[in-house]
Symmetry: C2
Subunit: 353 residues, 2 copies
């Protein structure tokens, strides 16, 4: 079958045809979804629950590189990073809207792949796709997702409610997504322009690649904490690196912190890749970004209960703001934490991602 | 003052600095806004009310041309077109989120202008800005807005609830925004490449220019109908031209329609510009798009009450689907209505906007 026969141009369906094609199989999972795609607006009913709203935009050439990002993974990721924001408020995601700008060169099959990823994430996180907008773009792709979630008032966790002498906890492990990105970028530059290039061998690095290409929101941890009746004192998700997010909590709550390098959870593959690239794995965890793990503080008396929970690591404690923000290294030195985060407005070629 | 001194680069503030700079003066107007910008998600409380959610994306080079679109107008328009979707459901808009992708070449002052327009629209429509995302773009600008509104259940108006033998009504006048676009495009091509060009003289065409550059959502009509205790049987906003939107209602409701050319409200400036460009003003009203007026159906017995209301024109009636969708022209002929709408996935150079 030739390329020409295999792919369908977007213009063959038109905007309304495309939307109908992509959304025809939708069924709603949540009772709060009264009406979804197909009118001027979706209709939702949250009754006595509070509603959480967050939005995130992914731009081609800034947040993703289509030369190595499978479209299905991209669709999944666009939903997961938004769901992660609802998790960071200790809420349960319920609905999303997806707006998409696409070049005319895109095929219907390409958009179907992207939506297959979006629907897979909706399934995974129990979310209904209730609306969106599809338009053409003169250049790259742009995906804008808005997520709506629910929570009872008292369980909502903010960034500005940490207090001195609380435990600092993180979920999962850190730095892996950044190492995955470095690996993909390295292979891309190695293979650039080589027509004899074969698919690179990523064996032994599957985990860090998945962390970059298909990150997961920690809805499992939100559910686990509910089950254990633990409400964090403050919480944020780690999208820009541990240091940057911890600084957000400290600054907004007016507290200081002390974390311990040896307690920061880092996967074996992250260490291995960092070594290969002559980088420091702890620095990757502190500043790498895109981990989408949760960072939270909790009362000291929960130490025993928290430290035995799967997927949760206690990495330090908060203190008075006047004591500053420090990390104690493996060799017993301390150094001041600085927010590195993600330099969004550097020129793209120097930006970290 | 040189250009260099006058403008501040985005990189001087960074992402978080920019967001803080742009959102520091926010105060909330609505009791349903519990927490706005500054955390992982906004927190809203709609209690017994239903919630309406809609989203729209504007892309540089597709939906707007920065060579003649003032940034302040663009910001205003991005909010207004979203508010219009909530109006089309007979709801009251309450909150918006704004995601923005910007080239690094953009200045802080430019973004301030854009936000001045966004805030002006928020003020106009009583809406709270509660969140968003700001990122860089490798090429053009992209603005994605999500709007959330409220309504009691029974007053919500959908597209699929028109019945035969109802009045078809539109608000305001049609075709003006399209004529404004034609005027701007003509002046742009006249002045292209001329260094001696002076500002074009738009006098006599202020109205159609404003309709294109700074469209208004008909929240005033939604409020008027509430005051009169009139609930439309079905409603949609006219973003893609009267014909296309009427087809949406007819198709989704399973009805036909008959409208009268002489009843379609068209402004004098629209007629004048259409004549100058050798176009048919009725065709502009049917297919022009971007009017953001409301199109609704209502029971026949409301004819007298509706026809005396300001800003509302009765233009025809619905019938059985088997009778088809027709317009009766001024000279008494009938022709079948076709949805032209906005050809979003044509190649940009041939797309209508």
């Amino acid at each position: 079958m030739s390329e020409k026969e295999k792919y369908t141009k977007l213009s063959a369906l038109g905007e309304f045809g495309l939307i109908e094609h992509l959304t025809q199989g939708i069924t709603h999972k949540n009772s709060s979804t009264l009406k979804g795609v197909g009118d001027d607006a979706a209709v939702l009913d949250y009754r006595e629950k509070k509603m959480l709203v967050s939005t995130d935009m992914l731009i081609q050439g800034i947040h993703f590189d289509l030369s190595y990002t499978p479209l299905k993974h991209l669709g999944y990721k666009a939903v997961a990073v938004n769901v992660s924001d609802i998790c960071a408020m200790n809420g349960i995601p319920k609905q999303i809207t997806v707006s998409l700008a696409l070049s005319n060169h895109f095929s219907v099959e390409g958009v179907e792949e992207l939506y297959a990823g979006i629907y897979a994430a909706c399934e995974q996180y129990g979310v209904d796709l209730v609306g969106g907008d599809t338009t053409s773009s003169v250049s790259g792709m742009c995906i804008s997702v808005t997520v709506i979630g629910e929570a009872e008032g008292p369980e909502i966790t903010c960034r500005n409610t940490a207090r001195p002498n609380q435990l600092i906890c993180v979920t999962g492990d850190l730095g892996a997504a950044y190492m995955g990105l470095q690996l993909l970028e390295r292979e891309k530059s190695v293979f650039a322009g080589r027509s004899d290039a074969v698919q690179p061998d990523f064996s032994g690095y599957e985990y860090i690649l998945e962390r970059q290409l298909k990150p997961a929101a920690r809805l499992d941890v939100v559910r686990l904490l509910r089950e254990k009746k633990i409400v964090p004192a403050s919480m944020i998700d780690i999208s820009d690196g541990l240091a940057s997010e911890l600084m957000h909590i400290c600054r907004q709550s007016g507290v200081g912190c002390n974390i311990y390098e040896e307690k920061i959870p880092i996967d074996y593959q992250t260490y291995k890749m960092a070594e290969e690239l002559n980088m420091n794995a702890t620095v990757c965890a502190l500043s790498g970004g895109e981990d989408y793990e949760l960072l939270f503080t909790a009362p000291l008396e929960l130490f025993e209960e928290l430290s035995v929970l799967e997927h949760i690591s206690v990495i330090g404690h908060t203190c008075k703001a006047s004591e500053g923000c420090y990390m104690t290294t493996r060799d017993g030195n301390t150094f001041e934490l600085k927010a590195q985060g993600w330099a969004n407005f550097k020129a793209p070629e120097t930006a970290e991602k």
